[in-house]
Each structure stands twice: as structure tokens, then as C-alpha cells.
């Protein structure tokens, strides 16, 4: 039986791939979104900033920011799931991985946001679940919360067009 890889090697490879995926997108940096990784599970973290405020009187996060945060979490989770097998099998070399050498990102077809309560002026978290991820289309559900995991402030469902495979297949 093959010996399992040392933990540092595994962690380094996964974190490098995740970094390559996130750091290439200016809008993710602009909003201040990071991802927490536990094994293959990702949690999006939106760090609060004054520029994310919609209504200064409450104050509350702008609905567009909430939508964007959920959409980013959906796209990154989907891309991450797409990468995972090739990353683990060694087909993708994490050492040389950059945003340019990664597969293209999925494209949003539609995105529907359900606003449940106003977003408070503090950090927010989101986790996405792939309802179905096919070769060409994917359906993703995302939940966003702040203080309590069970008290969602918004949730969303979206459909995405998967990028064409690198071998030229559609």
C-alpha cells in the first residue's frame, strides 16, 4: 500500500491552489472576500468595510454586496470542486499553478437572491452546496449568515455554465 503523503505537503498543495484561484480576481480582492478551507469544504468570509454599506442610517450592508458575496462563494466553490480531483491526483501541479494556468471560471447564467434580514455592519460568512454539477451546467445553492449559522441573512440559487475542458471538448 502507498504511504499517505505528509500533511504539510497536502496542505501546501491545496492552499496554493485555492490562493491561485482567489488572488487572480480583482473584484474578490476589492470586496475583501477570503476563503476558509477545512479539507475540501470552503467557507467564504466577507470582511466588513465601510464601503460595503448601502444604508448608512441603519447601517446595513448593500443588497448588491450581499448578492455579490453569495455569487462569488458559489463560483469559487464550484471551481474548487472542479479542480479537486486533478489537484489530488497530481494532474494539476500546485507548484506552478497560477490564475492563468487554471481552468476558466464558470459563468453565471442566472442568480436569484432571497433577502431574509438586513446585513449587519460586521463580517459575513457563506457556504455553497452543489445541487448538481454536470459537464456543461451546474446548479448551486448558497447560504449567508453573520452571527448565528442557523439565522441566515440571505440565501441564493444560481445556474452556471461550466468552462469548456482544456482538451478542447465542449
Amino acid at each position: 500500500m502507498k504511504r499517505p503523503e505528509p500533511i504539510q505537503v497536502v496542505k501546501q498543495r491545496r492552499d496554493a491552489a485555492l490562493r491561485a484561484l482567489i488572488e487572480g480576481v480583482p473584484y474578490i480582492q476589492y470586496l475583501g472576500i477570503e476563503f476558509d478551507r477545512r479539507g475540501d469544504e470552503l467557507t467564504g468570509v466577507l470582511h466588513f468595510d465601510e464601503k460595503l454599506i448601502g444604508n448608512p442610517a441603519l447601517p446595513a450592508l448593500h443588497g448588491g454586496v450581499t448578492a455579490a458575496f453569495l455569487e462569488v462563494t458559489a463560483i469559487v466553490t464550484l471551481s474548487w470542486a472542479m479542480l479537486w480531483d486533478d489537484l489530488e491526483s497530481g494532474q494539476l501541479d500546485a507548484e506552478t499553478l497560477t490564475f492563468e494556468t487554471l481552468p476558466r471560471l464558470p459563468k453565471t447564467i442566472d442568480f436569484s437572491v432571497d433577502y431574509l434580514r438586513s446585513g449587519l455592519p460586521r463580517d459575513a460568512y457563506a457556504r455553497a452546496r452543489l445541487n448538481r454539477s454536470g459537464r456543461r451546467y451546474a446548479s448551486v445553492h448558497v447560504e449567508g449568515w453573520q452571527d448565528n449559522r442557523a439565522r441566515l441573512f440571505a440565501q441564493a440559487t444560481g445556474h452556471f455554465l461550466m468552462p469548456a475542458l482544456t482538451d478542447g471538448g465542449a
Partner: protein, 156 residues
């Protein structure tokens, strides 16, 4: 987005335009995205936003992220509700669905026109379309339901 007006936006086009301008100026995220009011009518609002490097979703193409387009559509939707003739005092987005028809051309301004096409006692329904400067069909379309808070004592 949740927004409130101290009183209705008024019936004349000048008071409406003035209220709309003040409204958008007061919202930090709208300022951050350099949103601008282009036109305000009865239950209709047109807002625009310039292309910016920071809003890019795919650096290989320079196409703006869908999330930034949502922010513009959501704001124009809220503005369209607030300038409805029955003069609500506050509104908040309950649900917004966006269909992305095509990528917006990089370096072009995006303009969203929202129409509040129906209101009930407590709900406003909104449709919106977003265009780039090419104007060959919308970049995205949206449908939303917003809360509609009437002034106390105002008839339904």
C-alpha cells in the same frame, strides 16, 4: 438593499431628481462604485456606473463581475420604488433574480433602467435591464420584489 426616505420623493420632476440625487450620494457602496443617476421618472429610475479595474471578475477578459452589475440593478430597483407616485417612505429588497445574457464589454459604462411596474399595499414589483455602451441587447435583466412601506395614514 434597504432604504428609507424621510418623506415621499414628491411629484414634480425637480423634487424627485433632487431626492434621488441625495439618496444615492448618501449610500457608501454606491459612492464606492461611482454610481450616477441618469434619469428619474414616476416609478422609474436609470442609474449608471463606470467600468473599473477593481470590479473585474475575470482578468483574462477584463469583464466586470456579475456581482457589481447586481449592485447597480438592486440600487436602481430601490430608487424606482422610492419614486413611485404613491410616495413610499421606505423599501427593502426581498428577492432579486438576475439573468446574465452576455458579458459586458470591458471599459464601457453600464446603465441600468428599473421600472416599478406594480405595487400592492405592501409589495412593489420591479423589472430592470442593464446595457453597456454598445447597446446591442441587454447585458442582464432582473426581476425583483421589494417591500413597500407607505406613510402612516396614507390610503392603500
Amino acid at each position: 438593499m434597504r432604504c428609507a426616505a424621510r418623506q415621499g420623493w414628491g411629484m414634480t420632476s425637480e423634487t424627485r431628481a433632487h431626492a434621488a440625487h441625495q439618496f444615492i450620494e448618501a449610500l457608501p457602496h454606491c459612492r464606492a462604485l461611482s454610481m450616477r443617476i441618469e434619469d428619474i421618472g414616476e416609478g422609474a429610475a436609470t442609474l449608471s456606473m463606470p467600468w473599473a479595474e477593481a470590479l473585474v471578475g475575470d482578468p483574462r477578459t477584463g469583464v466586470i463581475h456579475g456581482g457589481a452589475v447586481s449592485a447597480l440593478m438592486d440600487t436602481s430597483g430601490g430608487a424606482a420604488v422610492l419614486c413611485h407616485p404613491s410616495e413610499p417612505v421606505a423599501t427593502a429588497t426581498m428577492d432579486l433574480r438576475i439573468d446574465y445574457m452576455r458579458a459586458a464589454k470591458p471599459h464601457q459604462r453600464i446603465t441600468a433602467r428599473a421600472v416599478c411596474h406594480h405595487v400592492t399595499r405592501s409589495v412593489a414589483f420591479v423589472r430592470a435591464e442593464a446595457f453597456d455602451e454598445d447597446g446591442e441587447g441587454p447585458v442582464a435583466v432582473a426581476n425583483g420584489a421589494f417591500t413597500f412601506e407607505r406613510r402612516k395614514g396614507a390610503g392603500a
